[in-house]
Amino acid sequence: MSAPVHLSATTGGPALSAHALTLRGGGRLLLGDFTQVFRPGEMWCVAGPNGAGKTTLISTLAGILRPAAGHVELDGVRLDAWPQARLAQRRALMPQSTHDAFGSSVLDVVLLSRYPYLTGWGWEAESDRAAAQAALESLALGSLAARDVLSLSGGERQRVALAAALCQDADVLLLDEPLAHLDLHHQVDCLTALVRWMQAAPRTIVFSCHDLNLARRFATHALLMDGEGAAFGGPVAKVLTPALASRVFGHPLVLIAQDGYEALVPALRSP
């Protein structure tokens, strides 16, 4: 049953894979019999209407939610067979929202993501501090390091959470709506930083996003979920097409092109 550990060597580095995954939520079938490999050097955008199960899928890929059927593997080993501490060094998850009940400095919040690497009495080493500072710098947040997280705006908080996920230094990064609350300028900056981060190792990124045009521009692959059990995965240009997107979102979309730019826009409905 269990695949050989070095299976991924033939396909180019370690990979995250979903096998016959079935997800249910609120009594509905969200995703049925879904099989897909997410390889290093690939940046996947998960898109679909509200309630389609994007968060459920990302949590399941991270191994913090049990699927109704099927399983997820990392390096050919089922997630539930991984020791939790080792797994935390290999995959990071940025949840959709984090709630700060207590004040704390931005640097300390980002440092929490070094937890899988703590040894001894559980205090961070100098190298952990350097990693946190580097993660902040990579998202142009260096100047916020000493600020209290409670004093940050929603967008700043979102970028700090993203920096924390980067700081976990895992080669599979799962991001639930990393662009929420961000203005256009920061959306582009964050995606640029993520592309750089993905290509550096190379690593795998799976993120959910509502902006199909940003996805077309930055992601290498896309996964469209219709929330009724079906999903369409593949290279971004083949998935985020007007035909497929119209079907999944239940609203006609057209692709317009000008000066080498392409954009999916909602079609005007004749009254």
Binding site: A88, A92, H99, A101, F102, G103, S105, D108, L112, Y115
Partner: protein, 334 residues
């Protein structure tokens, strides 16, 4: 926060604790010089001369100061842990009904005219019953965690149970013979006067610290939420049950030893957070030290300000705690 900075904070708090301990041993109706206090502690048995001041220090003041330190440490530790568990900086050791269960059973035993050890046993049994009820009713909040702010289900279960216990206490009080009311009143506001052997409480404090200090790095992660903790490899459900049990049992031991001393478990961890930062690795041991010092100091005040009469210690902690808490609340609102 670095390990070094935490060590400095712990050292400073330990010095404060020692200073207050010396004062608690030296001051009172009979003043004993610090030098004599030291002598009384060192030459416990070898002293041939019958020295009444040495006797007072060893058999009266030392057990009482130790009981105060242990109870305060337990309460503040429980408060710090529950604030993490409920992800609410205003949680306190009694909010989940531990003291209510203890009080109802203790008052029942007092009403029946039971001797001290029966009252203690009854109050501990009441606390355990209350802990079991909360675990039973809110078990889903432990296993799944609650996605939204704080943990309303766990919190509400505890608050409702505490209210129920309060009604039971009132019922017993109204039916109780008048001559026993005064003792009950002291018990309910917290009283170190009847605290006998302080060493079990101190041992409980050591055990509670040993059970919570190793998971303190995980507590830092848990505060940020369920998904975040799981993604970092922290076993959130198991950790929640563990800190709930440690905190509740700590509160139960404290209540059994000295009655319901209020505000220490709320104000001490909260004040430390404001002054020293919110790092549980520093905060868990620091709360125990500072809470112990606070109660030891409050007891010193309680037995000296209106000497030879004594105040219930809970009155002192509340009189200091209420304004401090209100001030912190107003400050936080800005």
């Amino acid at each position: 926060m670095s390990g070094k900075r935490a060590a400095v904070i712990w050292l400073a708090l330990a010095m404060c604790a020692l200073a207050v301990l010396m004062a608690a041993l030296a001051l009172g109706s009979v003043q004993v010089s610090p030098w004599k206090v030291f002598g009384a502690l060192v030459h416990a048995q070898t002293e041939g001369v019958t020295d009444s001041s040495g006797e007072i220090v060893r058999t009266l003041r030392l057990p009482r100061a130790v009981a105060g330190f242990a109870c305060g440490g337990l309460l503040a530790l429980a408060g710090a842990l529950l604030q993490v568990l409920l992800r609410n900086p205003l949680a306190e050791p009694y909010v989940l009904g531990v003291s209510g269960g203890a009080a109802a059973f203790a008052v029942l035993a007092l009403a029946a005219g039971a001797v001290r050890w029966v009252v203690d046993t009854a109050s501990f049994a009441g606390a355990l019953l209350s802990i079991a009820l909360v675990l039973g009713f809110a078990r889903r909040a432990f296993w799944r965690g609650e996605a939204q702010e704080a943990s309303p289900r766990l919190l509400l279960t505890g608050v409702v149970l505490a209210t129920g216990w309060g009604a039971v206490v009132m019922l017993i009080l109204t039916l109780m013979p008048d001559e026993r009311l005064r003792g009950v009143l002291f018990w309910l506001t917290g009283d170190l006067n009847g605290a006998g052997d302080p060493w079990p409480a101190l041992a409980a404090l050591v055990v509670a610290l040993a059970a919570s200090v190793p998971v303190a790095p995980q507590l830092n992660v848990l505060i940020r939420g369920e998904a975040f903790a799981l993604a970092l490899g922290v076993p959130a459900a198991r950790l929640r049950v563990r800190i709930y049990l440690v905190a509740s049992l700590a509160a139960a031991v404290a209540v059994t030893t000295a009655g319901t001393i209020g505000f220490v478990g709320l104000v001490v961890p909260h004040a430390l957070r404001l002054i020293c930062g919110n790092d549980q690795r520093m905060l868990v041991p620091a709360s125990a030290l500072a809470g112990g010092t606070a109660v030891m100091g409050a007891d010193l005040v309680a037995r000296t300000v209106v000497a030879p009469a004594q105040l219930p210690i809970g009155v002192v902690t509340a009189l200091v705690g209420v304004p401090v808490f209100l001030w912190m609340l107003m400050r936080g609102r800005r």
